[in-house]
Symmetry: C3
């Protein structure tokens, strides 16, 4: 089963999508299986990270922004704005797709794991995901 999903984002940062994905998995009434998430963009990414303390996510964002700053003189691909080339670099360092097993009808996430769409651009709008479920 393949489902297209739109996710609203409001600027740079980690947007949690665990509940949205969990709901789609529950709707499929699949006891065991595999859930694949695929992001159709090259300037945002997917990640699984700690869902408890927001300070961990703020530090992830700050650390990655320091490693991949805007306005680096190395960049030649600058026509789409100062946040564009850093976004592509951040995307290759993180993930475009995630695969998560389904156990007893639910995503087999650990206690502290949440699924995040990591928006790397300063834009507000929506991003397109494709969800695949197999038994």
């Amino acid at each position: 089963m393949v489902i297209e999903i739109q996710i609203s984002v409001s600027g740079q940062g980690l947007h949690e999508i665990t509940r949205e994905i969990q709901r789609r998995v529950a709707d499929a009434e699949m006891d065991a299986g595999l859930c694949t998430l695929f992001l159709r963009h090259t300037s945002a990414s997917l990640t699984i990270q700690e869902n408890a303390d927001p300070s961990a996510r703020r530090d992830l964002e700050a650390w990655l922004n320091r490693l991949v700053p805007e306005n680096d003189p190395l960049y030649t691909h600058t026509s789409e704005g100062p946040d564009d080339m850093p976004s592509h670099i951040k995307a290759i360092l993180t993930a475009t797709s995630l695969t998560i097993p389904i156990l007893q009808g639910r995503l087999a996430l650990g206690t502290w794991q949440g699924i995040y769409l990591w928006e790397h651009r300063r834009r507000t709008g929506s991003r397109n995901l494709v969800l695949h479920l197999c038994p």
Copy 2:
């Protein structure tokens, strides 16, 4: 088929799990298919790396420790110890899940590829994996 697996770890570093996973695949008696490994933690990760010369793994560990040191003044998420926030960062730079095709009843790894659980914390104990096999 979905199987839960516990892996013992003894401190930071790359712990090879190739044989353990290969054995589970053999038990499934599947000629061709796809094996997915998913780690239920946010301060450790999975990686596929050179299994021949241990110096390559030592250099990977040393390089990543230098890129993501402990006690960076940037960190605000410090309540769980100095090795906690670096572990989350290392986890987002590596992988939480791996997908490996099965060919002629075995994982289709290259000659020099081994599967590793990369423990980023200094802890000793066990980590939980979920293995999914599909034809």
Copy 3:
């Protein structure tokens, strides 16, 4: 269905393989499903990146070469040449496998997404991929 594919590479850089993979998916005549690509090497990787402006790919390559330079005094694994250890590090920072859903008989890539084999060594020759398709 599992297929072995050989890809020719001519030195370091991002080699686009989208058409080759798209063709294999079309041949399988699968309306919906999941395509997994797995690279059987530890000194090259797979990535999905912007396929429009070549300057973005040149910047990705230049940025990663600066982050992971040759001849770093940290390296002890040096017997296979100065481009070997940087290649392993670049491989763990990017991806060894990609999973892409199939929608209406085609890979569900976004408008600007291309699939690339990222060769990290200076070698010319071929690399081995394994493609798995499931409904």
